[in-house]
């Protein structure tokens, strides 16, 4: 394939900086847990359902433990101790706590409690491993075996109603979509609980609930069998309940999760410490479940300029990569994100798009790169928009991107109509087909404009990461180095859910899910 001449030593230096940046954050954050990490732990141990006020039982138990001052030792231990004492299941313990029939006091034999928690964790991991194996089997049966004509076509449904979503997702799969993402209802990222059951009312999207996951999974499996492809299901592992959504997704065999280490901090004003702790635990679950994470660097370019801020995208991808390694993800599980967002009026803008996409491809040769379509410069002129999307499709195939989010010509107008998706798929299939082997036929001119541009972005990335390493990631975010948005370490939502671990804190999942410890990249 076409290659740019890049200075490998420069890439290595940048990556080493990113490794130290992420490592330092990890060490600082490992001293605390969060309410949602503990709720995710309880979900994995089998606690589900809601009380008479629709409050999820994991929330009821964790709130109770917080009142009892016991959460700093981990929810798993207190619940396991009560299970031992009462001879109940975890669910029965949760129901009794919610009904006010049981007070958890953290008493009892700690070793026995650990054993009980460990046994539940082992059972839970077995289920998730079985789901992972089933995914592999279904992909194998579909004849994909890594031979699928990439990039994968990624489509979004966003009706607010899971049953309408299913209709649209099935149509999309029949038309050629490889990945279906169910957009979440706006505002869910700021809910400190996960809604329950099948939902039909959402705004700009559909609530992420375990039942909605299950319904969509079943529908995609069915249509996948019909069209002879495995249709990948995507949702949003972000916001205040990141780890819980990861747990639900792992249990219900989702395939991809939007899961960025910094997105919530920057764009949702969620507290930094909360996010860093939550992203670690959620990524660990995603890693174990074989889920591909998608990072959100494309968003930087909706606030910052795509030409001037290109290096912030690459720097953030390198940091996201290192956080992902710390959570045990393999490179092919890293859907590092970037976007085609240069102003179409800019002369040679297409060259800079090509340069950036190729640069990212070469810096992360094994990652499942996620390439996002134009949004910022889309207008109501749908005809021009269709051309912008065609150029985006072209860069994607020429630079061998992996996860290709389809651009909609009605991007600036409304959530897509069914024909918008249909035309977007036609556009992409046409471009991917007619240019299928173009990438292996062309070379970039040595010392040409494209190569120079890629080298310049790489050099800026290296110095940006060196600066972040010097001041630390929290200070870098506080200074607005990403997306020109400033956030402080103690600002934002959800800090009250960050809890310092007490001596004897226990969580049965990391040692199982991070077999062999964190990976090193």
């Amino acid at each position: 394939m076409a290659h740019l001449q890049l200075d490998q030593a420069r890439i290595d230096r940048a990556r080493n900086s990113a490794r130290r940046i992420a490592g330092r954050v990890f060490d600082d954050m490992d001293r605390s847990t969060t309410t949602t990490v503990e709720r995710a732990t309880l979900r994995l141990m089998g606690i589900d359902g809601v009380d008479e006020n629709q409050v999820p039982l994991p929330n009821r138990v964790v709130d109770h433990l917080q009142e009892q001052g016991l959460l700093n030792r981990g929810a798993a231990l207190a619940v396991a101790a009560a299970m031992n004492e009462q001879g109940w299941t975890a669910q029965q313990v949760a129901e009794a706590v919610a009904a006010g029939r049981l007070v958890l006091d953290g008493g009892g034999d700690d070793t026995a409690a650990r054993n009980t928690a460990d046994a539940l964790a082992a059972q839970s991991c077995e289920h998730i491993a079985a789901q992972r194996a089933q995914r592999a089997a279904l992909i194998g049966n579909s004849g994909e075996n890594g031979e699928v004509a990439q990039p994968w076509l990624y489509l979004i449904v966003a009706t607010g109603n899971i049953y309408e979503d299913i209709k649209q997702a099935r149509a999309a799969a029949e038309q050629g979509a490889d990945i279906v993402a169910v957009i979440r209802s706006t505002g869910q990222s700021l809910l400190d609980y996960v809604p329950y059951g099948a939902t039909t009312e959402g705004f700009g999207g559909t609530y992420a609930t375990q039942e909605n996951f299950r319904l969509m999974r079943a529908a995609l499996d069915e249509v996948g069998a019909k069209v002879g492809r495995y249709i990948r299901l995507t949702n949003y592992c972000s916001g205040l309940c990141m780890p819980e959504i990861a747990a639900m997704g792992a249990i219900e065999r989702l395939d991809m999760m939007l899961n960025d280490s910094m997105y919530g901090i920057i764009f949702r004003d969620i507290n930094m410490q909360r996010t860093f702790i939550d992203q670690f635990f959620s990524r660990m679950i995603n890693g174990y479940a074989g889920i591909i994470i998608n990072t959100g660097e494309d968003n930087y370019l909706t606030t910052a300029d795509a030409v001037e801020a290109a290096h912030t995208v690459l720097a953030s991808q390198m940091i996201n990569e290192q956080f992902a390694y710390l959570s045990g993800l393999a490179p092919e599980q890293m859907g590092l994100g970037h976007a085609f967002e240069i102003n179409p009026e800019l002369e040679n803008g297409f060259l800079w798009e090509l340069a950036h996409a190729q640069l990212v491809r070469q810096v992360f040769p094994d990652a499942s790169l996620k390439y996002m379509p134009p949004t910022k410069h889309m207008t109501g002129n749908i005809f021009k928009g269709h051309v912008q999307d065609a150029l985006f499709n072209m860069v994607s195939t020429v630079t061998q991107q992996n996860i290709h989010l389809l651009g909609m010509m009605t991007e600036a107008i409304h959530t897509p109509f069914i024909q918008d998706r249909f035309l977007a798929i036609q556009n992409a299939r046409y471009v991917f087909g007619t240019m299928r082997d173009l990438h292996s036929e062309i070379e970039f001119k040595s010392g040409g404009l494209i190569e120079q541009r890629a080298q310049a972005v790489l050099a800026e990335t290296e110095s940006m990461l060196a600066e972040i390493e010097r001041i630390g990631l929290p200070s870098a975010i506080a200074q607005g180095m990403f997306a020109e948005i400033k956030r402080t370490a103690t600002g934002g939502k959800g800090l009250d859910g960050v809890i310092a671990k007490a001596p004897g804190y226990y969580n049965p999942f990391p040692k199982r899910m991070l077999q062999g410890g964190p990976r090193h990249g």
Binding site: F203, K376, H414, T415
Partner: protein, 246 residues
């Protein structure tokens, strides 16, 4: 005023030629194709022709049609609500604020309620602006406070009180089932309830916003696509001067 009747133009005056496309929730066959043609007829198109029809799977089919509009419109009878003010450039706005207000104009902006899309508010408020038009943060005589996305109306109003805002700027980008109308009405109701509505210049922007719609919702002005910081700022200082004089 002299009548000015018009209809769409294809390649000959008054040919009325239009294109449209739509999906029908049935599989493609001869009947559905004829159905698409008759729909166009019912929409007021003469000699409609289905130039493209395709099955989309799952019981849906897609059509592209051309036809000739039966209808025409007399432009001389149309009145459109527009904010009336002169659009100044950045320096002009700064000079006018300095001269008339003698202090900085305070603008608090946000994407309110469910809306998570900051593209619009950022284009108007952030330093960099959009398409070469610098945002309000770059205006010497404006103190611009961008609260970002998914801000509760209450939170926005509280901040406006705290900052002694002259202008509240809200953006509504993504809309589904017209949720943006509920969001906007809510904000204006809260301002009324707080007794602040009179003191605040209330402005809304977004791809689906027109000045007319904004006025209907009780806002002072509405800005649609292709509006920049200088448009909003020019309106705001103009409105401030007008109110001061009243």
């Amino acid at each position: 005023m002299a009548e000015q009747w018009i209809k769409p133009y294809g390649d000959t005056q008054d040919d009325g030629r239009v294109q449209l496309s739509f999906t029908l929730p049935v599989p493609l066959d001869e009947v559905s194709k004829e159905g698409a043609r008759r729909l166009a007829l019912a929409m007021g198109l003469d000699e409609p022709a289905v130039v493209h029809a395709e099955d989309m799977g799952q019981g849906f089919s897609f059509y592209v049609l051309y036809g000739q509009s039966k209808h025409r419109i007399d432009l001389s009878t149309i009145q459109v609500a527009k904010p009336e003010f002169e659009v100044l450039d950045k320096e002009g706005v700064n000079a006018l604020i300095a001269e008339k207000m003698g202090r900085k104009m305070v603008v608090v902006g946000a994407c309110i309620e469910t809306d998570a899309h900051t593209v619009g508010i950022d284009a108007i408020m952030n330093m960099k602006g959009y398409n070469g038009h610098k945002g309000l943060e770059s205006y010497h005589e404006v103190r611009a406070i961008n609260m970002g996305a998914q801000v509760d109306s209450e939170e926005l109003v509280a901040r406006a009180i705290e900052e002694r805002a002259d202008v509240i700027l809200v953006s509504q980008v993504v809309t589904q089932k017209n949720i943006h109308l509920d969001n906007l009405t809510r904000l204006s109701d809260i301002l009324e309830a707080e007794g602040m509505r009179e003191r605040i210049i209330l402005v809304v922007g977004g791809p689906r916003i027109s000045h007319e719609l904004a006025k209907e919702l009780g806002y002072d002005a509405g800005f649609g696509p292709k509006s920049y910081a200088e448009d909003v700022a020019s309106f705001a200082i103009n409105e401030w001067i007008k109110r001061k004089a009243a």
